[in-house]
Structures are given as C-alpha cells and as structure tokens.
C-alpha cells in the first residue's frame, strides 16, 4: 500500500486567537482576520493574493481533554502535509459562560517552490443544548467544495438524533471501535448506521485500518494462481484475540466478517466452547467452515487486539495451512514517568534509583493487571462487556507508537518445508491510520460488507 504522507510535528504553537464566552459570529470574525493577515503577509508586494489551498475539513469531536489533545495533535500532523481546516469540538467542557470558548491555532508550511499554506485548527469548547446541535454549530465554518469528515473520538451517540443531525453536514464519519466504552453494544449500534451510509456518506473505522496488514497478508497467500483454489478449500479458521468476553472479540469478528463476506459464506450458528473459546460455523456452498475464537493473554497487546490467525484446509488433494501471528517480541512501552514520581528514590545513588524504578514498575503492573477485575467488580458487567474509563496513564501506554511491530507468517503447503515470512506492521499512529481511511474518502464497500457480516456474527455471540 502507499503509505500516508506523515511528518512528525514537535508541538503546537500558541493560539493566534483565544476568547471565552463568545458566539460563532465572533469565531468567524476572528478566523476571517487570521486568514486575511496570512494572505496579506504572503502576498508581499504582489497585488494579487494567493488563493487559499484546502483539501478537506476535519471535525474532531473529543469527549475528554486527552481526546482533545489527540485530535489537535493529529490534525496538526495531517495539516503540515495537507492543507486542511480542522475543527475540534470538545463537549461538556467546563465552560464558564453561557456560550462557547474558542481558540484558533495555525501552522504555516512553506514548500520551497510553491505557495505557502496554513493549517487552521479551530477548537471550540461547548456544553449544554448547543452541543446537541453540532451541525448548526460547525456549518458556517465548513470550507465549500471540499469534503468534510467527522471524526468522533470515544463512543458516538449511535442511534441518537444528535449524531444523525451532525452527519447531515458531513461526507464521512470516522470512529474507532477499539475505543468504544461498551464495545459489544456500541458495535452493534454502529452497524445500524449501514442503513443510512450511502454513496455520499461514508463510514470508516480506525480499527479496520489497523487490520489492514492482516488483510494484506491473508490476501497475499491466496494471490498466486496456483493457490486460488485453496479459497474454496478452507475448512477451519482460528482467531486468537486478547482479553475475555464478547466485547474483546470485535476485531476478530471484523476480520472473520471480511473473509465471510468476500467468500460468500453464511453464518449458521455460534456456540461457547471450553476455556472461553467460541466456535462459529459458516455455510460455504455445500461445505461447512469452522471458526474458533480463542481468548489469549498477551502482555504486549491491548485488549481486543488480534494475536494470531490460522487458516487451514485442503484443495485437490493438497493441504495448506497459513499462520499469521503478531510478533511476540514486541517491545513494551517504557514505564510512565508519573509512576516514578510516586516512588521517590531516597537518594541519587544508582541502587536507590533502580529500587525506585522497580517499585514504580511493580506499582504500574499491579494496577494494570487488576484494572479489568476492579472495573468489572465495580460495574457488575461481565468481562469484555464494558471497558474502564481510560485514565491518562494507561491509555497512553496502550497505544504507544512502536517501531518493532511485525507479522510473522508461516506457510505450509503439502509436504513441503514450512516457509517463514516477516512483514512490518505500521507503527500505531493515529494520523497515519486516519489518513489511510480519509484517502479513500471513507467510502469502502468492502468495509461495509465486512461490518454487516461481523454484525451478524456478533449477534450470535
């Protein structure tokens, strides 16, 4: 695949404008002034200002401060390579007055031989009734003639008027089903959007973009003409996923739904097996295909991530087995400094520092390991049904960029020696994943079909 164009940005500059208790008219006036200043400065002695360059409007809806920062950082990263306007809406922020708090930040990019452009990030803190009228709020800010994408961080209010209204002004909705607070029920509600997703409104899931390396690796195995017949000989699939419960089985369901939809399989039933495993049975023409979902514990993977996929079968007397697994040697993220601060070194000597470091690591591990059980004790939800609210430390640790992610593929055909193959997974990067989805305009028929098939499967869990 062609990778997304990404340049790392060091940090955000100070807002060009910031005001509290303002109206949309104030924001529009400030934005107009910011643009005008930039255009005049860039025109220099030229009488004619350069036309504004913009490829999209990206609206990020952030339910928390952490999400707001993520949205702004991602928008900035994208904007430094692609002239864009970003609007970050923070709901339920502690706004003091009746109206809105807003700020405008911009980053200017000057290519060597082309006109400069500025990436604008408009952040609006909104609460109360205004938050329920997102479309009306952002409509005056939208750039005409370029697509508008709504990126909803956290769990969108699926099925509610608030979301449906917001979608009226957008060309696509982007969510991340790996971050839903109630993954199982939210995923089911999300699939309801397929009814309104049509040629104009796209629906995209960051989790789907994360599955791309898995999809590519599996597709590659069946690409050579002499292996194409294996597709109709698949008899069993095994998917290992991290964590327990149906809420952690969403990525596994999506990848299975993708295969089932592509090969025209029909779900017949799913039943619980031993050790938390679930077995689904598909009808593939006159054959039956068994898909085993097995929960595993992998310290280096986040809950819900796929750990391994195995596909086996036989065709025209030749057996085959494809095994793809997430690199077990993935590096663990460094301990969060905040923990260290809770464990003073007791001196500056090496031994004292090492002891404090170990204590901090132990503290974090205990918290991490017990987090799920503490959460389920507190909520009464079965495992995987809902996820703890994401405290800052654990969230950043879960999705650390990691350069050492690879997929190990093992191919066995007939009696031949197994063939080992290593492929890189792109580092976890919100901007790159988002760009991957936006570069298709969020219209992906294959995803829609996979989602529909996964939804049918999830219903059977």
């Amino acid at each position: 695949m062609a990778p997304a164009v990404i340049t790392r940005v060091q940090g955000e500059s100070k807002p060009l404008w910031h005001a509290e208790d303002v109206t949309m008219s104030d924001i529009l006036a400030a934005l107009s002034e910011v643009r005008s200043k930039f255009a005049r400065a860039e025109a220099g002695d030229d009488e004619h200002i350069h036309p504004r360059n913009c490829v999209m409007t990206l609206i990020g809806v952030a339910p928390s401060e952490l999400d707001e920062r993520l949205a702004r950082r991602t928008a900035l990263t994208i904007g430094t390579e692609h002239p864009a306007q970003a609007i970050v809406i923070r709901e339920e922020a502690p706004v003091r007055g009746r109206h809105l708090d807003a700020s405008i930040t911009s980053e200017i990019r000057r290519p060597e031989t082309a006109c400069a452009w500025q990436c604008e990030i408009i952040t609006i803190h909104v609460r109360g009734r205004a938050a329920e009228h997102l479309a009306e709020l952002v409509d005056p800010l939208l750039v005409s003639g370029v697509p508008t994408y709504l990126w909803w961080l956290g769990t969108p209010p699926f099925g509610k008027k608030e979301l449906l209204d917001a979608l009226r002004v957008c060309d696509g909705l982007v969510v991340d089903s790996a971050r839903f607070e109630e993954p199982y029920s939210s995923f089911r509600r999300m699939s309801g959007l397929l009814k309104i997703a049509h040629h104009r409104l796209g629906l995209a899931d960051v989790q789907w973009a994360r599955l791309r390396p898995w999809r590519e690796t599996i597709a590659q195995f069946f690409t050579p003409m002499d292996r194409r017949g294996f597709l109709s000989g698949i008899s069993e699939i095994g998917v290992d996923y991290v964590g327990e419960g149906r809420g952690n089985r969403i990525a596994a369901a999506l990848i299975t739904g993708w295969i089932a939809a592509a090969l025209g399989w029909k779900i017949k039933r799913a039943a619980a097996g031993t050790g938390g495993a679930v077995v689904a049975r598909y009808e593939a023409g006159h054959r039956s295909v068994e898909v085993d979902f097995r929960p595993v514990q992998k310290e280096h993977l986040a809950s819900g991530e796929i750990s391994a996929i195995r596909i086996a079968g036989a065709s025209q007397g030749t057996t085959f087995r494809l095994s793809v697994q997430h690199d077990p040697a993935r590096r663990r993220a460094a301990p969060e400094p905040a923990y260290r601060s809770l464990h003073p070194t007791g001196g500056e000597d090496d031994a004292g520092m090492e002891l404090a470091e170990r204590r901090a690591e132990w503290h974090r591990d205990v918290l991490h390991e017990n987090l799920a059980s503490l959460h389920h004790t507190a909520t009464g939800d079965p495992p995987g049904e809902s996820r703890p609210k994401r405290p800052r430390v654990l969230t950043t640790e879960r999705r650390q960029p990691d350069s050492a992610r690879v997929l190990l593929t093992m191919i066995e055909i007939g009696d031949s020696e197994p063939l080992r193959h290593v492929q890189q997974m792109d580092p976890e990067d919100e901007a790159a994943l988002l760009l991957d989805l936006l570069s298709t305009g969020t219209h992906d028929e294959v995803y829609n079909r996979a989602l529909a098939a996964a939804s049918e499967l999830v219903d059977k869990f």
Binding site: M1, P3, H48, P83, E112, R215, L231, A404
Partner: protein, 510 residues
C-alpha cells in the same frame, strides 16, 4: 470463468494493494550503480510496504567474486544510503536481506549461467516458487544480447512459471541496433515478456497526464489545434554528466533524453484517448503519434533543430567546468549536451501546432514540464491597454520537482479601473492526496512482477522513435546545424531562443 482465473476476492478494496506471485528476481550487474542506487532500495521499500509475497527471492549476479554475506552487506549499505524512506527498519531489512543470494556470473561463460540455473531450482523448492523468473539487466546496454542468448543456451528462458526480462534504456544506439536488439530478445522471450524500462513512465505525474486529459471532460474539447497555439516540453538538468563521460560522449542529449523521455512526453500529451488504460491500447495510441510526427529531413534539420554544448559557467552558485573538461570526454568533443527541436504532428488534432522540445545539462535548474500554450482571445473586449499584462492562457504540467498542474488565466486587478492580469491556479500533486507517491522504480518493478507492461516501452515504439531521430543524428554528425556553446547555468544556446523567435514565440521560463 474458472476459479483459477477469477480475481482474488480477498484482495478487493485493499486500495493500492497489488501483489505479485512468488518469483525470483535475478539482477545482472547486482553490484553496479543502478542496482545499488535504485533497484535494491526499491525492493526494500516494496518489502516495507508489504508488497513482496512470501517466498519472493532476489539473486544478485555479477562478475565480482563475492560471498553471499558480502553481497548482503553491500545491499544493506546501499539501502541505508539510498532508500527513499528513512530511517531504515532493521527488521524489514533483515528479512529482505535474508531473501538475497549471490551467484558469480561472467556473462561470457555458459557454465556460470548453468550454476545460476541450479541456484534458481533450489530457491523454487525452498520458497514455493512455481518457476517464475524475472531477469533484470542492470548492466551496460551492449551486454543485453549476450545475457539473453546465454539464458537461452542454459535453458533458463523456459519451463514452468513466467520468464521475463527487463532492459534499461537506451534500447539500441540507432534504428539498426535497436532492431537487432529486438530480434535477439524476441528470439529468447515473447514480446510481452520483454519489459523495456524508461523510468520516466513510472513517475506518478507522467501517468497523471493521461488522467488529467482523459478523466476530465473540460480539457479534452480544447486539446487541439483550434485552441492550442503551441506546446513546449522542457527536460532541464542542473547537473553535468556525473562521471558518465565515456557513455555520454557517444550518446549526447538527443539519444540520452529526447529519443526516450522527450518523445514519451510528446506521445502522452498528443495521443488520442485509448479504449482503456490497458497495455496495448495505450501503446497503440502512442505509436500512432510517433508515426504521425513529420520526419525532419534535409534543410528542415538545420531550421528546426538546435544543438549546444555547455562551456564553463556558474550553476546554483558554484563554478563548474566546461563539458570538454569533464573526465572521459574528448577535448574537441562535438557531442551535444543541449538539444532543441520543433516538431509537427501531421494529424487532424494537431495540424499546425508546433511542439518545441528542449533537453539539456547544466541548465539553471532541474525541471521537467509540459506547457500547453493557448491562443489569445479572438477579440480584446477590454482593450489593448487593459490586457497588456495578460499572457495567453496556459496549462503547465509539472513533472518534477514540485509535481503539479497550474492553469494561468486573466483576472481583474482589484482597483477602480479596469486592468487585467494573469493569475495562476495551482494544483500540487503531493499535498492534495493523503498518500505518498511511490518512487518510479518501485512502481515499475511491481508492474513487472505482476506482468503489467502498460508503462513499459514496446518494440515498435522504440523503432518509431529511432526512425525520427536517426536522420537528425546523421545530419548533426555532419555539423548541420553547427554546435553552439552556451555558458553553464544559462538556458541553452542562442540558437534555441532564435528557433522560437522565428515563429513569434519565446521559451517559457520554468
């Protein structure tokens, strides 16, 4: 449709996803410059993008006495130095290097090719490869025929799987040698298995010329003699011959650039819409353009061509020597480092529209662009005074650097009076899409592995191009027109300016 012929349903929707069948790529000249600068880094990047299938293997073949380990070390060094993507991902690199083998091959020794054959059989067995082979000649052009014939003698051009050969431009030195090369290659490989690489065609922006013309309805109706005044194609380099004196002094700008890159850009600009973006449909239309170009003969050559050679001068703030002072260049060399010509395409669409082409070394900057100059409006509604600052409309297709398209048109200057000035509407290729464009070699290598020859040059294209160039080369060897010097860092000889002035036009300054 049989199951085996159906597309892979699991590959649907993986946009930009293209993957080849497992194969062995044999790089002849694996320790050379092209392999180190372009091929090995391109293959590494394909591996990084997960575009190489499990089992894909590379065999380096060259005269050097290297161990497998030494070749891998060489490859690793080159990838670190020349890869488009940095920093290098060690795990991808290690995995890629493990797929490399090396076999010492003296192109004159049949036994060496037989030893190569044994290595390929081993790889077929260990890597589940059904005999697929790609022979890449990253070697000087005179070796192409020898390599092809040795492959045939060793029986490496037949058997199960596909067998393809890749050769680099120049394809021959003139029409006669191009025909000889074609005949030899076609004795050993079917024409659809011969991949002639002109890396220009792998550039995204070159392919975008076709998208611009044929995916939009607003440009094609004006893309003809009714509204177009002239077309200018510029292939300018700021560098000199970069140590290639021995080759360049025999070739010159006409053979090195105009015969291939220059004429390819002419064909893409002037061709009729193909029935589909399919290899033969596209190449059929390109050949039609080449055959419709009015041949330059006799006095036409003196009047319509310009040849120049750079003298010493200043480029990008650095003083540079004259061409004749370069290494491996004859002190009295008559080789042109600048070629300019005016061509006409004798067909309905282009009748009377001159195509001006120029290519040169040590020009002020590196730029490749196609400029479509439109005619002036038939009537000056706003009067001569108001329009004095307005240039005719023009579309510029920038191939490199800063790939993009710009449209120049007149707009009213915001003021009390009526004054019109030219303004530019710009499209920048790299910022308008949310993905990165692959390097030309990555695209072409993958095309070759997949077996898509659309962006490769067909034998009849090569011959049609030489048929145009040969008479010019012959006249130039007789000093018609005379070689004219230009200072390095300028836009070529004075004669180039006069060529357009004679038609009441001037070169656009890129």
């Amino acid at each position: 449709m049989k199951v085996e012929e159906a597309p892979n349903p699991l590959a649907e929707g993986l946009h930009d996803y293209r993957v080849a069948d497992p194969a062995v790529m044999i790089i002849f000249g694996a320790t050379g410059d092209l392999s180190g600068r372009k091929l090995l880094p391109a293959l590494y990047n394909l591996a990084k993008q997960r575009s190489l299938p499990a089992g894909f293997a590379v065999v380096g073949a060259a005269i050097d006495d290297l161990t497998e380990q030494a070749f891998r070390k060489h490859a690793s060094d080159k990838i670190h130095a020349f890869s488009r993507t940095q920093p290098i991902d060690d795990r991808v690199l290690d995995s890629f290097l493990s797929s490399l083998s090396y076999v010492k091959v003296d192109f004159g020794k049949l036994d060496d090719f037989k030893a190569l054959g044994q290595k390929l059989q081993e790889l077929d067995s260990t890597n589940h490869i059904p005999g697929n082979r790609i022979f890449y000649c990253a070697t000087p052009p005179p070796t192409y025929q020898t390599i092809a014939l040795q492959l045939q003698a060793a029986g490496l051009n037949s058997g199960g799987g596909f067998h393809r050969i890749v050769v680099e431009k120049p394809f021959g030195f003139d029409l006669l040698s191009a025909r000889e090369l074609t005949q030899t290659l076609q004795k050993v490989f079917a024409e659809d298995s011969v991949f002639r690489i002109d890396h220009y065609l792998g550039k995204e922006t070159v392919q975008n010329i076709l998208a611009f013309r044929f995916a939009n309805s607003i440009f094609e109706p004006v893309w003809n003699t009714n509204l177009i005044d002239s077309v200018q194609i510029t292939v300018a380099e700021d560098i000199g011959i970069e140590g290639r004196g021995a080759y360049y002094d025999k070739a010159g700008a006409m053979r090195d650039i105009i015969q291939n890159h220059g004429l390819q850009l002419v064909t893409l600009t002037a061709m009729e819409p193909p029935l589909a973006f399919e290899a033969n449909a596209v190449r059929d239309e390109k050949v039609k353009v080449l055959r419709a170009i009015r041949p330059l003969i006799g006095e036409d050559i003196e009047q319509s061509t310009v040849r120049g050679q750079y003298a010493k001068g200043w480029v990008l703030g650095v003083q540079v020597p004259a061409y004749r002072e370069e290494k491996n260049v004859a002190p009295d060399s008559q080789t042109e480092t600048y070629a300019g010509l005016r061509l006409f395409i004798d067909n309905w669409r282009w009748a009377g529209v001159p195509f001006y082409i120029r290519a040169g070394k040590r020009l002020p900057k590196r730029v490749t662009e196609i400029r479509i100059q439109f005619k002036r409006p038939p009537h000056l509604t706003f009067g001569r005074e108001a329009m004095k600052e307005v240039d005719p409309n023009a579309i510029t297709l920038r191939i490199q650097p800063e790939e993009g398209i710009s449209l120049k048109f007149g707009a009213k200057v915001p003021s009390a009076g009526l004054r019109i000035r030219s303004v530019t509407m710009d499209f920048q290729y790299m910022t308008s899409f949310l993905v990165e464009a692959p390097e030309a070699y990555e695209r072409l290598l993958l095309d070759c592995m997949i077996g898509d020859p659309t962006l490769f040059t067909r034998a009849d294209e090569v011959e049609a191009a030489w048929a145009l160039i040969d008479p010019i080369e012959n006249a130039w060897r007789s000093q018609r027109p005379p070689l004219e010097m230009y200072a390095a860092g300028t836009w070529g000889p004075e004669a180039a300016t006069k060529l357009l002035q004679a038609d009441g036009r001037e070169w656009h300054r890129p």
